[in-house]
């Protein structure tokens, strides 16, 4: 808030404070870091999604058990061969600036997602070739190839709708003053301070919104965040670390709920990306040996107080797409040594790049000790997250430690990582048989069919291991008992509908 406006605000506040009946309910949510630009087309940071949940509605939303439900669009119907999909839109919806939400707006938004330079949504919905406006409330998306997971993409930022008028006015500065169609209207943002939203009077579902104002406060230090929750300065905090759970559980004024996340923590291994791919890419037995030497359960138990879930596939063991034939293996050092010897690499050595993030640094140390017992020397190299990801793209790595936040549709967790020339396939693993299966899976609508296909892909990947999946987090949301009506979702996003503040 600029200091000159501050004086006016002070006077206004005094007037408001004088009248207790007009006291607003304000929900304060602590964020783990400061979101980037509040523009659905170019936003990348996870915390941005939390703010969007209040400000920007999307075409569809997803339930805790991953069913697609209407939000701004009321229904969908696939065309012949899944090459197009017709969306019916909700009538009577307005943007925060009063502009109507209609098919034209949808077309504008999708084209913006596809054509803006620097758009991060292009890789998510790039298969949309064109958008036809059939009438004011009906839209047809034409695809270059069938893509069943498209709908799941429309439940996130790619499906968020912004006001075309505001977008044209603000251009690439839209992220500083977003105008969407969500339950809360953007009021102000003090960068690295707070982001404030105020109840939108014309929201289409206003009956379910009970809180007048929502404030997002980024606080990077977890100790400060927890202390603020305990003192009542914050009502909710997101992604609570397992080491803080005990304190929240011991406090009668607080609650915490956890849901298995959609994503996973993984180590991509360089199999064929430049000269560094020779170390681990030469023989799949090397990678299998590394995998056998790791005891995932011990990692989860010692570092994460058993609050996380050991994993080894692209979906968590609770997912219907998990291949039960390949459960998380028990550690087998002897077999690992055998494999290494057979491959002629009894003294395997490689470097793992790890960003300074606590969870992964600690886990890396455990891994180092575990691998050492199998005769594998793993050196830990610390690198900033962004640098590491860029090095990954370039092939300047043997292994690096990262994570994927996960997508509601299983395709979002595997395709771009394992298909030849996939956007996130830093390993440069390339297996045409696998590609055929993955492509078929994303073009098939029947879940049972897809499960069969993904089972086959898992079989291949368990043998080739271009990346190691280690565990799935539980997304813990801590909140005060004053905040009622919270429903946890696997994506960890706090949805404002139904929330009450007592």
């Amino acid at each position: 808030m600029s200091w000159t406006r501050g004086l006016l605000a002070l006077m206004a506040a005094m007037v408001i404070a004088a009248d207790p009946a007009s006291a607003q309910s304000v929900l304060r949510i602590g964020l783990n870091d400061d979101p980037d630009a509040l523009d659905p087309t170019i936003s990348r940071a996870y915390t941005g999604r939390l703010v969007f949940a209040a400000l920007c509605d999307k075409l569809f939303d997803v339930t805790p058990d991953l069913k697609i439900v209407p939000q701004l669009a009321t229904s969908y119907e696939w065309g012949p061969n899944q090459r197009s999909v017709v969306l019916k839109l909700r009538p009577g919806v307005k943007f925060h600036d009063g502009e109507p939400f209609n098919a034209e707006a949808v077309r504008f938004n999708i084209e913006r997602h596809l054509n803006t330079p620097g758009s991060f949504r292009k890789s998510e919905i790039g298969e949309i070739k064109s958008v036809d406006v059939i009438n004011d409330l009906t839209v047809r998306l034409n695809l270059s190839e069938p893509l069943v997971p498209l709908l799941a993409a429309l439940t996130d930022r790619a499906g968020m709708m912004i006001s075309p008028k505001a977008a044209k006015e603000l251009g690439d500065r839209f992220g500083t003053k977003p105008v969407c169609a969500g339950p809360y209207k953007f009021v102000e943002r003090v960068a690295q301070g707070k982001i404030v939203g105020e109840r939108f009077a014309d929201y289409w579902d206003k009956g379910n919104i009970h809180i007048d104002r929502v404030e997002f406060l980024p606080i990077t230090d977890s100790t400060a965040r927890l202390a603020s929750l305990r003192s009542g300065d914050l009502h909710m905090i997101e992604r609570v670390s397992p080491s803080d759970l005990a304190q929240i559980r011991a406090d009668a004024k607080l609650k915490v709920v956890g849901v298995a996340e959609l994503g996973y923590q993984m180590i991509p291994l360089n199999v064929n990306n430049g000269p560094k791919g020779k170390v681990l890419g030469a023989d799949p037995r090397l990678r299998q040996a590394i995998d056998l030497a790791i005891d995932r359960e011990t990692i989860v138990k010692t570092i994460f107080a058993n609050e996380y879930i050991p994993g080894n596939q692209f979906v968590s063991p609770a997912s219907p797409y998990y291949n039960a034939k390949f459960p998380v293996r028990k550690r087998d050092v002897a077999k690992a040594r055998q494999l290494l010897q057979a491959a002629g690499a009894s003294n395997l050595a490689f470097t793992l790049i790890v960003p300074p993030e606590r969870d992964r640094q600690e886990a890396a140390l455990v891994l180092q000790a575990m691998l050492a017992e199998a005769g594998i020397t793993m050196t830990i190299q610390s690198q900033e997250n962004v640098t590491m990801l860029q090095a990954g793209r370039r092939g300047d790595f043997e292994a690096y430690f990262t994570f994927w936040s996960g997508r509601p549709d299983p395709d979002g967790n595997i395709y771009t990582f394992n298909v030849c020339n996939g956007g996130q396939n830093d390993s440069h693993y390339c297996n045409p048989a696998l590609d055929a299966l993955l492509i078929k899976a994303r073009q098939t609508a029947d879940p049972a069919e897809r499960k069969k296909l993904y089972d086959q892909t898992t079989e291949i990947l368990m043998r080739d291991l271009p990346r190691l999946i280690l565990w799935h987090r539980r997304v813990f949301t801590g909140f005060s008992v004053k905040a009622q009506g919270f429903t946890p979702h696997p994506d960890g996003i706090i949805r404002l509908k139904g929330l009450k503040l007592s």
Partner: protein, 280 residues
Amino acid sequence: MTSARQAQVLRRLVGRPPTVAAGAVVLIFIAIALGAAHLAPFDPTATDFAAIRKPPSAVHFFGTDEVGRDVLSRLIWGARASLMAGVIPVTLAVSLSIPLGLVSGYAGGWIDSWMMRLNDAMLAIPFLIVAIALAAFLGPSLRNAMIAIGIASLPTFVRLARGTVLALKAEDYVEAARALGCSRPRIAGRHILPNMLPPLIVQSSIAVAAAIIAEASLAFLGLGQQPPAPSWGSMLNAAQRYLSQAPWMALYPGLTIFAIVMALNVLGDGLRDALDPRYY
């Protein structure tokens, strides 16, 4: 310096208990850093997942950290990184400042003027901000942190060296030497250079203290010595997350930094009192 003067300086140094105590502390730290391999009870990178975040005990005098490493051992080994990060950049800065100060002080005119402008420009940016910006642009590592700190420390020394040269140039004995026909390099080497050293030495003690804090600050931010290598600053970084559960993780590294920096400051005080001809 004449031998009588040297004796006087030594007497003044040794005669004051605080200076002696501070000097002893500094020597102890140096000894610890050098003899880390023999002194540390545990391997500083040895993890022990059964002993995570254990409070101080007979086995682990200062407790253990978030992956079960012995805090005391990490402090001992961390002394190497910290002391190196203190001494090396300052030594470089002092060494560079002597020729720069001589050139600037002797040349005078526009060379001196523009050198001082450039120097003032670097002095204008607050020390830690220079260090952070440089370390960020160079990339996080202990080596880059030392380069950044060295560059950030340089301007103070250059200004000091030049000031000393100017003051010494006006001294009687230098004028006399010029009158006797001594060449400029000879005057610089025989008369000016040795007398430049005392104020530079005094400043060094304080500068090393500041450099140690700078390295700890950079490591705390994640810009210095990278994990898992031990560094007092990165230990404090880790400690922040577990502040309520394991306060000993933050307490001992901080006390250690405090101890060495305090000792260096007291030593600097003592050196200044002993070497400064004005104080009798």
